[in-house]
Symmetry: none
Subunit: 231 residues, 2 copies
């Protein structure tokens, strides 16, 4: 099993270092972001199992980061522990409302921190990052996909599209749904664009004799599906 992957978002370098150092000693893999922008970028690059998120951040605020993560399907249930200075307690309710899973008031002891982290991870154990479907394997940590042991090279969009489909095998999605879930948010793109990406995905996925894993459902959309014999 992979080590649990944490992301610490904290702009105060001293505190950040302290937290990171201690968590690493607890045998977590720890990454750090100094502001909201960077945090989102880090998450995009590799999804952590838990985020420690400071409330006050330069640029995009912690709460905003939280909200943005929540509205993205793939990060919607990513555990978040908010950190904030005393006196902002009133915000705690808002923080929890907006989707934080826990809330720590600074200053806090490292033991408290460890306890909360463990508690949250116990409640939502880090999911296996590897997706499988038929002879397809997606390694979400290494950001690699292979079929039958053959490494596939996918563009970012194709990757997200396949990832979403692999999260919901044998389920049909309309183009709207696919755009909503597999594209960066707020992108207003032609529905037909999905077709093109499906084609590229198919080209990459299906070697010569291999059956097509993507099923077209006319007037509905597409599904990742076991290719059945049909007469």
């Amino acid at each position: 099993m992979q080590k649990t992957d944490l992301l610490v978002v904290e702009d105060d370098p001293a505190l950040a270092r302290l937290i990171c150092y201690n968590l690493e000693k607890q045998n977590y893999t720890v990454r750090h972001a100094g502001d909201g922008e960077e945090a989102l970028e880090q998450v995009r690059q590799r999804q952590p199992d838990l985020i420690l998120l400071d409330w006050m951040l330069p640029g995009i605020s912690g709460i905003e980061v939280c909200r943005r993560l929540r509205e993205q399907n793939r990060t919607a249930s990513l555990p978040i522990i908010m950190l904030s200075a005393r006196g902002e307690e009133a915000d705690s309710i808002r923080g929890l409302d907006i989707g934080a899973d826990d809330y720590l008031i600074k200053p806090f002891g490292m033991d408290t921190l460890f306890a909360r982290v463990k508690a949250i991870l116990r409640r939502a154990p880090p999911a296996d990052k590897t997706l499988r479907f038929e002879d397809l394997v997606m390694d979400r940590v290494g950001h690699k996909v292979e079929r039958n042991g053959r490494l596939l090279s996918l563009g970012p969009t194709e990757y997200r599209l396949l990832e979403f489909l692999m999260l919901h095998p044998a389920k049909v999605f309309s183009r709207e749904e696919l755009l909503k879930h597999a594209w960066e948010r707020s992108s207003c793109v032609e529905l037909r664009t999905v077709d093109v990406h499906i084609r590229r995905l198919r080209q990459t996925l299906n070697e010569a004799t291999e059956p097509d894993l993507i099923r077209t459902v006319r007037a509905r959309g597409y599904a990742l599906d076991k290719p059945l014999e049909q007469d």
Copy 2:
């Protein structure tokens, strides 16, 4: 068992996000529609197990959406919880009259919401999305139909027609009724067209030795029915 599928219809993005996020954390599959038009479209695409329906909506109002769902046979008993702002209490009676199953006054806490959702679902447990009749199985999530394990390939209209028949087995429908329920609404098509689709459905459904599952009732219409022995 598939996760329970909810549809949140709410035009205020902030509130919508809040509701969706919290419900997702309760392990529901949540979809969202920003107006009445979109809501009806979503329902058409995939029928949810419960709808949270805002009263005030741009375009088609919540109450109108509710009414339209009620008059469609297939959605007539779909559970609906109406949401409305304080001060519209008077409407609550009207709302319940029109067929809502419950009524929430904004602002409401998430716990209240969860409780109501659970209560309604307990009262009307989400139907299995898989329809069965004799050796026919229709997977409405994956949009697949098989008979005797043999995958059938149906066109959109045949699919809807069969779906409707499977929802009401052993019941005879006139061509008018079939057109009304299995065709996109507001389509004005010859009655005789139904015959053609019934034929195509039969062709696909009935392999060589298999008995015909569709019974013709002269001067009345058709029914999906257990085949009678006859030699």
